[in-house]
Symmetry: C2
Subunit: 327 residues, 2 copies
């Protein structure tokens, strides 16, 4: 199947474009009618670096590539708009697998009201997906960067962390889940293979007055440090308050890992870490619960200074630099 | 050098963002203030498929990746705005080469007033560049798709064709240029390695009333067919009128190729093929000459029907299907 034929097959599978898209895939470029502010992010996933074809199905790979890209829009509080997809296809990827990969992407695009508006397909040595996502907001002031945290703000976290790291360990080492129920093990693997971008929660936090926000891709320790550095503030996080996914403790025990380390340094949870004035906390929590069906947990506070400090359950303190070494 | 360190080195080299960019590289996403219509295109270049590292310098590879992406904006008549760059870096690419690649891209970005507003860097087996470019227009109606050609329109071509194909042959087979002056050979190689996106010409043609436009990446034969199909029209092209690059005849003769075949089926010239009412031709030609310093040549006309017909110098006719076989 040549490039043009594959592109035609791909185009057949694309749902109808959203209302912002005047001209979609098939011309020199897509034409869209933007809102007052545009948010753009790019993410690349490469076989062997970001995923393994023996551990994830083509549909899961397609899903995850779009999910991790959309997560950056969630972290800005933007509404998702369009996605542009580069596929690098190795010769040993069957045509059916390629279309399944696309189906995984299309399903998430539909669930999030994202239009797949264009792309490019090429040969490559390994399977590679590079996805550009574009989000919209009525005005730039409606968006939340990493840089606005102020002393006195509460530090909050959406959902639960550690599931993606525990799921990866389960996939790589099946014995690690021996003490888990099949349902728990399956839920952990799904956190690794099919993360959900927190688009509703991100917009709710932005509307509720979040001052700074980031999505957890590298892990809580590293991402909190990015936010602290860009805000010029100190984030004090209470380790005992961290909402840790069920089943993580069992996986950590089976592998001889510290569960806190696995939860906070593991990465890929794609939950949102945000700072918000305490007066807004109740409204934000209710809004996140309503739109996304997940909890918003207060895990610390913003102070003057710089960096990240983790208060350990035993009473000790871990500075970001030390925390970083766990990664 | 780790990913974060490399990203920091890359960010140091980026010029100041353009006025549309409120938040550039370094946050979860870039934030831009768009005009009334946004044009977006994605292009991927992979080592071994689209370029060879033994024939092109890192700076030339960086230049060409951005140039081919920007060429799609030119073909819409859009003003360039932002670019987002994914780099897949193999282990045998030295850090210096990576920064040279970026310098080639930055130089073209500056020359075209394009802001490098974000990106992602990853390991990959081969050198890979995936570039998303975003252009702007005051309103969707200011843009030119492939679909608007009408019977009676003139078919025009910017600049000259065949140079990129001849340049590629010279690079691959040095003997092919024995009868050329060093200056001519160098000019042909530059057409292959450092194409110039016709951004000024594209906007001038759009303002002058072009009804359909495409950039020549696959070659005149194939790209004319795309335009004809999407317009639902017949393009009649006069082979004798084609503006063919100096030196191409010598390269074709040295290799035993038909010069017309090399010129029209070779691809990668990144000139613009447009349709325009004959009444607008004089104004369009003057405008393209003024902004880009190149000719606009009338090479045929649009008729009712479908497909592409090439009138050969000897009096014969070649239909698009046959022309396509030349590729």
């Amino acid at each position: 199947m040549g490039e043009f034929e594959l592109l035609a097959r791909i185009r057949e599978r694309l749902p109808k474009p959203g209302k912002r898209v005047l001209l979609g895939s098939g011309d020199d470029a897509a034409v869209t009618v933007p809102a007052g502010a545009t948010v753009t992010s790019v993410d690349a996933l490469v076989e062997g670096v970001h995923f393994r074809r023996d551990l994830a199905s083509p549909a899961q790979i397609g899903h995850k590539a779009l999910a991790t890209a959309l997560s950056d829009l969630a972290a800005m509080g933007a509404a998702p708009g369009e996605a542009y997809v580069v596929l690098g296809l190795p010769v040993d990827l069957y045509e059916d697998e390629c279309l399944q990969l696309l189906d995984g992407m299309v399903a998430l695009a539909q669930a999030t009201e994202t239009t797949l508006a264009g792309g490019d397909v090429t040969r490559s040595a390994e399977l590679l997906l590079a996805i550009t996502v574009v989000g919209h907001a009525a005005a730039p002031g409606d968006l939340v960067s990493r840089a606005g945290a102020r002393p006195g703000d509460a530090v909050v976290l959406s959902g639960e962390i550690g599931g993606a790291a525990a799921g990866l360990r389960l996939l790589e080492e099946r014995g690690a889940g021996a003490s888990l129920s099949p349902t728990s093990a399956q839920a952990l693997r799904a956190r690794q293979l099919e993360p959900r971008p927190r688009l509703g929660a991100g917009q709710a936090l932005a509307r509720a007055g979040a001052t700074a926000m980031i999505d957890l891709s590298d892990g809580l320790g590293g991402d909190a440090r990015h936010l602290a550095e860009q805000s010029g503030a100190m984030l004090r996080i209470d380790a005992a308050a961290l909402p840790i996914t069920d089943g993580l403790a069992e996986v950590a025990a089976a592998l001889g890992h510290d569960p806190l380390e696995l939860a906070a340094a593991g990465g890929e949870d794609y939950e949102l870490l945000a700072c918000i004035p305490p007066s807004q906390l109740e409204a934000a929590t209710a809004a996140v619960r309503e739109v996304e069906g997940i909890a918003l947990t207060r895990i610390g506070e913003v102070d003057a200074g710089s960096g990240v400090e983790i208060r350990l359950p035993g009473g000790g303190r871990l500075r970001a630099a030390g925390f970083d070494q766990l990664r």
